[in-house]
C-alpha cells in the first residue's frame, strides 16, 4: 500500500493530480474501509476506517471520521474518533469533537472544541526555560471537555 506514498515523497504531489480539482467526500457519503492517496482531501461525510493522505485533510463540520488519520496537515471541524499523525500542523476548531492522540509539528486547540486524548508536539522552549538544548518534547496528557 505504501507504493502510492513512496513514489511521491520526493516529487511533491503535483504529479498525480492532473487537474486541480479538490477531493471531496460529500455530506451524504459513507465509506467503510480504507482511504489512501495523494492530494488534499475534504471529508463532509462519514468515514469508518483508516485515512492516509499525502496532503492536507479537512474534516468539515458535519463530517465524521472513525479511524486513524495520517496526513501532512489536519484541520478538524467535525467529529473524529481516532489518532492523528500529521507532519505539519493539527488544528482542532471550535465545535469539533475529537477523541484520540494528536501528533504533529504544532497542535492548536480552539476554544469551544471538545477534545479527549494526548497531545504530542515537538517544540523549542523559550530561552531561559530551555535546559535541554531545543530537543524538548512535550508529552502532555491534555484533557478538555
Amino acid at each position: 500500500m505504501s507504493r502510492n506514498f513512496a513514489t511521491n515523497r520526493a516529487g511533491g504531489r503535483t504529479a498525480v493530480r492532473g487537474s486541480d480539482e479538490a477531493n471531496v467526500l460529500g455530506a451524504t457519503v459513507r465509506v467503510r474501509g480504507r482511504l489512501l492517496g495523494d492530494g488534499d482531501l475534504r471529508i463532509e461525510g462519514d468515514i469508518e476506517g483508516e485515512v492516509r493522505v499525502r496532503g492536507s485533510l479537512d474534516v468539515s463540520e458535519g463530517g465524521n471520521v472513525r479511524g486513524n488519520v495520517t496526513a501532512s496537515a489536519v484541520t478538524l471541524s467535525g467529529s473524529l474518533t481516532g489518532d492523528v499523525d500529521a507532519e505539519g500542523a493539527v488544528l482542532i476548531r471550535a465545535g469539533a469533537k475529537v477523541a484520540g492522540d494528536m501528533k504533529g509539528s504544532e497542535i492548536a486547540l480552539e476554544e469551544g472544541a471538545s477534545y479527549t486524548g494526548r497531545i504530542e508536539a515537538d517544540f523549542e522552549l523559550p530561552d531561559g526555560l530551555d535546559d535541554s538544548r531545543g530537543d524538548a518534547k512535550s508529552r502532555t496528557g491534555a484533557k478538555r471537555r
Binding site: L25, V29, R32, G37, G39, G55
Partner: protein
C-alpha cells in the same frame, strides 16, 4: 460539480455509499452504491460492484453494474462485468465484456 469527487490520487478500499452524485477519477475497490449519478472518468480504476441511477463509464470498471435509469459506456471506457439497466449505450471504441440485462 458533484458533491463528491474521488480524485486521481485517491484510493478507497471498502464500501462507499452516497445519496448524491459521485465522480471517480481515482481508484475504488469494493462496492459503490449511489442514489444518484456516478461518473467514472477516464483514467479511473474501479474494481467494484456499482449501483446508481445513472452510470457513465469513461475509465475502467471491473464489476457488476446496476443502474435504475441508464448506463453509458463511453469511447475509451472499459467495462468487464454484467450490466443491468433499462437503457444501455456502448460507444464506438469502448471495451465491454459481460452480459446486458435491460429487462428491469
Amino acid at each position: 460539480m458533484a458533491a463528491t469527487v474521488i480524485g486521481q490520487g485517491i484510493i478507497i478500499e471498502g464500501e462507499v455509499t452516497s445519496d448524491e452524485a459521485v465522480v471517480v477519477a481515482g481508484t475504488v475497490r469494493g462496492k459503490l452504491t449511489v442514489d444518484g449519478a456516478v461518473t467514472i472518468e477516464s483514467g479511473a480504476v474501479v474494481e467494484a460492484d456499482i449501483g446508481a441511477t445513472t452510470l457513465s463509464v469513461g475509465g475502467s470498471v471491473t464489476g457488476n453494474v446496476t443502474a435504475s435509469d441508464r448506463v453509458d459506456l463511453l469511447t475509451g471506457g472499459k467495462l468487464i462485468g454484467d450490466v443491468k439497466a433499462a437503457r444501455v449505450t456502448i460507444a464506438d471504441g469502448a471495451v465491454f465484456k459481460g452480459n446486458v440485462d435491460m429487462d428491469l
